[in-house]
C-alpha cells in the first residue's frame, strides 16, 4: 500500500493542474473538486498513518521508488518517497489542516471570480508540500521546497491587480531564493562529498565525513531553512506575504510551509547531530527570531501582521528546539503541530473577522466584536489560550517542553525562551482586547456579522484541535514515536524541578497578560494609529519590523541596483563601447587613409616613388640584418 504513497501527491496535483487547464466551465465545481481532492489525500494519509501505527518500529519507514528522476554522468537521483513517522505526522497536518482551510475558503473566496484558480493553487501547494515532506532525496525535497515557494508566490500575489500583492509575492520568492541558494549548495556539497543526495544515505554517512563538511552542510541547510521559515535574517518577506488571501496566510504562512525549515532541520538530524557549530547557529537563529517576531507582534496594528509576527516567533521556538538536538527535535515537531492547529485557527478567525469587517485588517477599527461574532470569538479565544500557553491547551504542553529543553541546554537560551513566552502572552492579549473586547471603533457602513457555516465549521474543528492537541504528549508518545528518526535523547536533569519551571512559565505568561490588560484596557484605544513620533522607540522599531527591510535595502537591494545601473552603463559604454569604438576608429582610419587619394596623378607617382625607395631600402636592409 505504501507503494501508492505517491497518490497522496498525485491527487491534489492532478486536481490542481486540471483546474488550471479547465476553462471557465470549471468555475462552478472547481472549489468542490479542489476540496475533495485535498480530503481524499487526507483520508489516504490517515489510512497510511494508521497502517504505520500497526507496524513494528523498524518497519515504520516505508520507502518507495517511483522512477529514476535524473541519471546523468555520476549523478543519480530517484524520484522516491519515504512515509515514516515524521512525514506521516506532516502528511496528516498538511492534508488535515489543508482540507479544513479548503472548506473555509469555499466561503471566504465565494465572491472571487478567480476562485477556481485559487483552489488549483491550493491543491498544487498541498501536492508540493507533500512532496517536500515525503521526499527521500534532498533533491526531491528541493523540488517540493521550490514547489511550495511557487505556490506561495502565486497565492500571495493572488490578487495581482494590487501592486502591493504582486510586490509581496515577488519579494517572498526572491528572498526564498536566497535561502534556496543554501539548499542548492548544500545538495551539491552532499553530491561532492558522498556521491548521492539521498536523505537517508547522507545522514547515515555524515559521521564518516569531516566535521567541517557537517558544519558546512548544516549551515547551508540552515540558510535554506531560514528562507522558507522566515527566520532572521531572511524574515522580511513573511509580513508582506500577508497580502495574500487569509486562508493562504493560515495554510501556508502559519501552519505548514513556513514550518518546512523546521522539518528540514529535524529531517537532517544526522547532519546537525554531527556539528555542534551548526546546531548552535540554529539555536541562535531560533532565539533571535523568537524575540524579534514577538517584538514585531507587539507593535503591529494590522491583525494579520500581528499574527505573522507571532508566527515568526513561534517558528523561532521550533527552530530553537530543533537546534537543541535530539533533546528538542520531537518537541519542535510537537510545537509545530500544535502551532499548526492554533495558528491556522487564529488566522482563519482573523479572516472571519475581516470578512465581517469589509476586509479591514486594522485592529484599531475593531473592538467589541465578541457579541457580533460569537463563534469566531470562541474559537479564536481557544486559539489564544493555546498560543499563550495556558494549561491545558495545546500550546502549553509544547511550549513548556521547549523552554524546559532550552534550560537544559543553556540558562540564557532558556531565559530568552521564557521572555518570549511572556511577550507572546502580552501581544496576543493585546490582540484579543483590541479585536473582541474594548469599545467599538468601527468605520461607517460596517456591519459586523458572523461568517457562514462553511467558514465557521473549520474554525470549530481547529479550535477543538487547539484545545486538545496536547494529547500527543501523553506518556511522551510523540518523543517515542519519533525516536527512530530523531534519535534517543538523554534526559538532562535541570537545576530546578520541571514542575517548578512550568509554574514559572505560567507566571510569566500571566504577567504578560496582565501587562496587556493594564496597557490596553485602561483607557480607550485610539481609532487612528498614533504617529511614529508619539510612540516609544520599541514600538516604532516593531512597527518597522525592526528595520529589516531598511537593512535589506541598504545592504543588498540598493547596492545591487547601483551595480546593475553601473553594469548597464558599462556594457553600453565599456564592452560594447569598445567594439563600436574600434569600429569608429576604423572609420576614422578609413577617412584618413583615403585622403592621400587626392586625384593628382603626381601625388600618386610620389607615393609610388616613395614606395620604391622604401622597398629598395627594405630589401637592402635585409643584408644588413
Amino acid at each position: 500500500m505504501f507503494d501508492l504513497q505517491w497518490l497522496l501527491i498525485a491527487i491534489p496535483l492532478a486536481s490542481g493542474l486540471g483546474l488550471l487547464v479547465w476553462g471557465k466551465e470549471g468555475d462552478r465545481f472547481g472549489h468542490l473538486i479542489g476540496t475533495v481532492a485535498s480530503a481524499l489525500s487526507f483520508l489516504f494519509g490517515v489510512v497510511l498513518f494508521a497502517s504505520l501505527l500497526g507496524k513494528d518500529g523498524e518497519d515504520r519507514s516505508q520507502s518507495t521508488k517511483l522512477f529514476t528522476w535524473i541519471d546523468a554522468g555520476s549523478f543519480h537521483v530517484d524520484m522516491g518517497f519515504t512515509f515514516d513517522q515524521l512525514s506521516g505526522l506532516f502528511v496528516l497536518l498538511i492534508t488535515g489542516v489543508g482540507t479544513l482551510i479548503h472548506v473555509y475558503s469555499i466561503g471566504y473566496m465565494a465572491h472571487d471570480e478567480r476562485r477556481r484558480r485559487f483552489f488549483a493553487f491550493l491543491n498544487i501547494f498541498i501536492a508540493a508540500m507533500l512532496t517536500l515532506v515525503l521526499a527521500s532525496d534532498y533533491l526531491v525535497l528541493f523540488l517540493g521546497w521550490e514547489g511550495v515557494g511557487l505556490a506561495s508566490y502565486l497565492l500571495i500575489g493572488f490578487w495581482q491587480h494590487k501592486d502591493s500583492a504582486a510586490a509581496a509575492a515577488k519579494k517572498a520568492f526572491v528572498v526564498n531564493r536566497v535561502g534556496d541558494l543554501g539548499m542548492a549548495l548544500g545538495i551539491m556539497l552532499m553530491f561532492t562529498e558522498f556521491g548521492t543526495s539521498s536523505i537517508h544515505a547522507v545522514n547515515g554517512a555524515i559521521t564518516g565525513a569531516s566535521g567541517s563538511v557537517a558544519t558546512a552542510l548544516g549551515l547551508l541547510l540552515l540558510l535554506g531553512a531560514c528562507g522558507k521559515s522566515a527566520q532572521v535574517p531572511l524574515q522580511s518577506w513573511l509580513l508582506d506575504a500577508m497580502e495574500g488571501p487569509t486562508p493562504v496566510s493560515a495554510l501556508i504562512h502559519a501552519a505548514t510551509m513556513v514550518t518546512a525549515g523546521v522539518y528540514l532541520v529535524v529531517r537532517s538530524n544526522g547532519i546537525f547531530d554531527a556539528s555542534e557549530a551548526a546546531r548552535t547557529a540554529v539555536i541562535v537563529v531560533g532565539l533571535v527570531t523568537l524575540l524579534a517576531g514577538a517584538w514585531i507582534g507587539c507593535a503591529k496594528d494590522d491583525i494579520k501582521k500581528a499574527l505573522a509576527g507571532s508566527t515568526m516567533s513561534q517558528i523561532g521556538y521550533m527552530m530553537l528546539a530543533a537546534g537543541l538536538g535530539p533533546a528538542g527535535y520531537a518537541f519542535a515537531i510537537f510545537h509545530l503541530i500544535t502551532h499548526g492547529f492554533f495558528k491556522a485557527n487564529m488566522f482563519l478567525g482573523a479572516g472571519s473577522v475581516m470578512h465581517g469587517m469589509n476586509d479591514d485588517v486594522e485592529m484599531r477599527h475593531y473592538g467589541g466584536l465578541r457579541t457580533f461574532m460569537p463563534i469566531t470569538f470562541a474559537t479564536f479565544g481557544l486559539g489564544y489560550l493555546a498560543i499563550i500557553g495556558v494549561p491545558p491547551f495545546a500550546g502549553f504542553w509544547s511550549k513548556d517542553k521547549i523552554i524546559e529543553a532550552a534550560f537544559g541546554q543553556n540558562v540564557w537560551v532558556g531565559l530568552g525562551a521564557l521572555l518570549g513566552a511572556g511577550v507572546t502572552a502580552f501581544y496576543m492579549t493585546r490582540l484579543m482586547i483590541m479585536t473582541f473586547f474594548s469599545e467599538k471603533r468601527w468605520r461607517e457602513e460596517v456591519h459586523p456579522h458572523e461568517s457562514p457555516r462553511v467558514m465557521t465549521w473549520p474554525l470549530i474543528g481547529l479550535a477543538a484541535l487547539s484545545a486538545v492537541g496536547g494529547i500527543l504528549l501523553v506518556s511522551d508518545w510523540i518523543s517515542e514515536w519519533l525516536e527512530p528518526i530523531t534519535g534517543h535523547a538523554e534526559h538532562e536533569e535541570l537545576a530546578i524541578p520541571a514542575i517548578v519551571l512550568t509554574l514559572i512559565i505560567t507566571v510569566v505568561v500571566l504577567i504578560g497578560v496582565a501587562a496587556a490588560v493594564f496597557f490596553y484596557n485602561r483607557e480607550p484605544i485610539a481609532a487612528e494609529t498614533p504617529a511614529d513620533s508619539s510612540v516609544s522607540i520599541f514600538a516604532r522599531a516593531g512597527r518597522h519590523e525592526l528595520y529589516g527591510n531598511e537593512l535589506n535595502d541598504a545592504v543588498v537591494v540598493r547596492p545591487t541596483r547601483h551595480l546593475t545601473r553601473f553594469l548597464v552603463w558599462f556594457d553600453g559604454k565599456g564592452v560594447d563601447g569598445f567594439v563600436t569604438g574600434v569600429a569608429d576608429r576604423l572609420g576614422d582610419t578609413s577617412q584618413f587613409l583615403r585622403k592621400p587619394q587626392t586625384g593628382y596623378v603626381r601625388s600618386y607617382a610620389l607615393t609610388m616613388f616613395g614606395g620604391v625607395a622604401v622597398l629598395v631600402l627594405a630589401l637592402l636592409a635585409v643584408t644588413l640584418a
Binding site: 603626381r602 610620389l606 616613388f609 616613395g610 620604391v612 625607395a613 629598395v616 631600402l617 637592402l620
Partner: protein, 256 residues
C-alpha cells in the same frame, strides 16, 4: 673614357634642365641633348647599331613626335611657378635624394669591376650579333612588338582620327545649294559679315554692327556663342558710340 667624362656632365645638366626648364620646348631640347649624348656613349660601348637607332628612332622620330604634339598643344605652354600640391616638390626632392643616394651607393658603386667586353660578342659585327639574338632567342618578343606597333597605330587612329560621317561637298555643290536656298527662302547667298565690322573692337567675339547700330548675331562663330564667349557689354559700347555720335552732331550743329 674621355667621351664619357665629357658627356656625363652635359647629360646631367641637360637632364636637370628637363626638370627645371619652364617652357616645354626647352625641356624637349634638353632631352634631345641627353639622347644624342647617349648615342655617343652607346657607340663608345660597342653598340654602333644602337647608336644609329638611338639617333634615328629616338632623336629623330620620337623627339619629333613630342615636338609635334607640343606644337599642337601650344609651344609656349609653360608650367606655373607656383606648385599646386603642397609639399610635392620638397617630398619629391627628398625621396629622389634618398633613392638616388641609396642606389648610387648601394648599386652604382658596387658593380663588379670585371668587364668582359664585347670583342667576342661583336666578332661577326654588332648588327649580326644583335640579329642573331633577335631572330633566335628573342624572336617571340620581336614578333610581339608588332602587336605593340599595331596597338599604337590603332590607338592613334581611335583617339586622334575623326572619321568623316558625311560626304564631302564640292564647291559647285555648295554654290548650287546656296543659290537654290536663295531662290526658295531668300537666304543670303553671300558670306556673312565679318565680326568686328563697324564695332568698337575688331575681335572675333565682337559682333558686327548693322547700320542702325544693332549687333548682328550671325556674324559670330557658332562655337563662341555656344561657349558663351560672346563679348558682353557691347550694348554699353553702342551707347558710347551713340553718345559720341551725338557729340559729333552737336559739334556739327554748333558749326551750323
Amino acid at each position: 673614357m674621355t667621351a664619357f667624362w665629357c658627356l656625363a656632365p652635359i647629360m646631367v645638366i641637360a637632364a636637370l634642365g628637363l626638370v627645371f626648364a619652364r617652357k616645354a620646348v626647352h625641356a624637349a631640347l634638353c632631352l634631345a641633348v641627353v639622347m644624342i649624348s647617349l648615342a655617343v656613349l652607346y657607340a663608345a660601348q660597342g653598340a654602333p647599331f644602337l647608336f644609329a637607332v638611338q639617333i634615328i628612332v629616338y632623336t629623330g622620330a620620337i623627339m619629333m613626335l613630342f615636338l609635334f604634339v607640343l606644337m599642337l598643344v601650344g609651344v609656349d605652354s609653360s608650367d606655373a611657378v607656383k606648385e599646386t600640391i603642397g609639399g610635392q616638390r620638397l617630398a619629391a626632392a627628398i625621396i629622389g635624394l634618398i633613392f638616388g643616394v641609396t642606389v648610387v651607393l648601394a648599386v652604382g658603386q658596387t658593380v663588379s669591376g670585371v668587364v668582359v667586353g664585347l670583342k667576342a660578342a661583336n666578332g661577326n659585327g654588332n648588327p649580326y650579333g644583335l640579329s642573331e639574338l633577335l631572330f633566335g632567342k628573342y624572336v617571340l618578343a620581336f614578333e610581339f612588338t608588332s602587336a605593340l606597333l599595331i596597338t599604337a597605330a590603332l590607338g592613334a587612329m581611335v583617339l586622334a582620327h575623326k572619321e568623316r560621317l558625311t560626304t564631302r561637298h564640292s564647291q559647285a555643290d555648295i554654290s548650287a545649294r546656296r543659290m537654290r536656298e536663295y531662290a526658295e527662302s531668300g537666304r543670303h547667298p553671300g558670306p556673312l559679315p565679318a565680326p568686328g565690322v563697324f564695332a568698337r573692337h575688331n575681335a572675333v567675339d565682337t559682333p558686327a554692327l548693322l547700320p542702325d547700330g544693332s549687333p548682328l548675331e550671325s556674324s559670330i562663330s557658332d562655337s563662341l556663342v555656344a561657349r558663351g564667349q560672346v563679348r558682353d557689354g557691347f550694348e554699353d559700347d553702342i551707347d558710347k558710340v551713340v553718345e559720341q555720335l551725338d557729340d559729333d552732331e552737336q559739334g556739327l550743329g554748333g558749326e551750323k
